[in-house]
């Protein structure tokens, strides 16, 4: 049993390393990833993030604009105020594959983004 678990862990690590080396935007399973976003001119940069499934994601968002924004995502069940010049941190549970949209409540037309879990 223990051997099986070790094997599985090894495969998972190797797999994630492969994925990581192939594309820096994707994080492998079993790893916690930190993703940094910036709000500039009422847009999320980058506006699209990709992570692997079963990864614990920490979103760190900096508001580089002079106005307040509220990060909001019904799909992620999160909302958080970001005063101008400040940074917030969102801790997300491991997510199922899918597209999770988020937006800035005060600029919903421009400030939109997606978290894609593969």
């Amino acid at each position: 049993m223990r051997l099986m678990r070790l094997m599985r862990a090894l495969i998972a690590t190797a797999g994630s390393l492969l994925i990581l080396s192939a594309s820096p935007a994707i994080a492998g399973p079993g790893h916690d990833v930190e993703i940094r976003l910036t709000l500039k001119d009422h847009r999320f940069v980058p506006a699209e993030i990709r992570v692997a499934r079963a990864v614990k994601v920490t979103l760190i968002i900096t508001n580089a604009d002079a106005t307040v924004e509220e990060f909001e995502s019904p799909a992620l069940n999160r909302e958080k105020l970001i005063p101008p010049g400040q940074t917030i941190t969102l801790f997300l549970r491991p997510l199922k594959p899918g597209v999770y949209e988020f937006f800035g409540e005060f600029n919903p037309k421009t400030a939109t983004g997606r978290l894609i879990v593969e």
Partner: protein, 276 residues
């Protein structure tokens, strides 16, 4: 312009609904003169929002990490408790008023209850205040650098004014209800709001990693009501609607009602027993 207008209109309604209920309630039981407690609570909340927004640079800890979630959870949790107390008290009075003269409430309305009302108005407005002040201040800053932003600022301010008018009209409509119907309608409304606040407080604690979500999401009802647009966003702010709620939030929401019903029975029994 329309975007800013809709935002402040919605935030304004969310903030002023409780204020409206309290004012109408006092007026209805012939205690309109005590409305100043409600106004005092509202004014204090506006002042606190301004101070909090002004010092938001210094209060980084309140926004970063889990500070913001804890702060929101505390405000929402406190508001749930105070709101529930108010509902129990109003419910008890509704029963008392059956076949009695309204003047009896004169003696029943203690100063402690009035401070409770003031505190509730404070929490109701402060809950949305900081956010709205920061939002409007951002519009003021933008207007300084470009005249293009004058439109949004005008929209934001008129949204706030219209929110006051909307709430006022809403309660003007309640003027036709008799006292018992008013109690019933507002009692149910306040209970749904309190359940929403409790579930939102739980949601904030889940975001802070303090409460387990159990199952998240339990379901997805965004096809029916989406928080990103009206009226979903208003339902979200007023009644704590979530399209992707966790099991923990749903439990808090649904269990709130039977628990409050039991509390109401206990409260009425205790108050009746206390009377000679």
């Amino acid at each position: 312009m329309l975007g800013a207008f809709l935002i402040t209109w919605r935030e304004g309604i969310e903030a002023f609904l409780i204020v409206g209920i309290m004012l109408t309630y006092l007026y209805k039981i012939g205690q309109g003169r005590h409305g100043r407690y409600v106004y005092a609570g509202t004014a204090a909340a506006l002042a606190a929002s301004l101070v909090f927004a002004y010092f938001s640079n210094l209060l980084e800890a309140a926004f970063q990490g889990i500070g913001q979630d804890l702060l929101h959870a505390a405000i929402l949790g406190l508001a749930t408790v105070v709101l529930t107390q108010m509902v129990l008290w109003m419910h008890h009075h509704a029963r008392e008023l059956k076949g009695q003269l309204q003047t009896r409430t004169d003696e029943a309305i203690a100063t402690r209850k009035l401070w409770g009302i003031a505190f509730l108005a404070f929490l109701g407005v402060f809950r949305e205040g900081v956010e709205t002040v920061l939002f409007l201040w951002g519009l003021v800053l933008q207007t300084r650098t470009s005249l293009m932003a004058a439109g949004p600022l005008a929209g934001g301010l008129s949204g706030l004014v219209l929110a006051v008018l909307t709430t006022w009209l809403f309660f003007k409509g309640f003027g036709h209800l008799d006292l018992r119907a008013f109690f019933r309608v507002t009692g149910i409304l306040l209970c749904i709001m309190a359940a929403g606040m409790l579930a939102s407080a739980a949601g904030r604690l889940i975001a802070a990693g303090i409460l387990p979500p159990l199952i998240e999401p339990l379901w997805n009802t965004s096809w029916l009501l989406d928080e990103r647009h009206m009226p979903g966003s208003l339902f979200s702010g007023l009644f704590g609607y979530r399209s992707h709620p966790s099991l923990m939030e749903v439990l808090c929401y649904t269990l709130y009602f039977p628990v409050t019903l039991l509390l109401a029975r206990w409260y009425t029994a205790r108050m009746t027993a206390a009377r000679p």
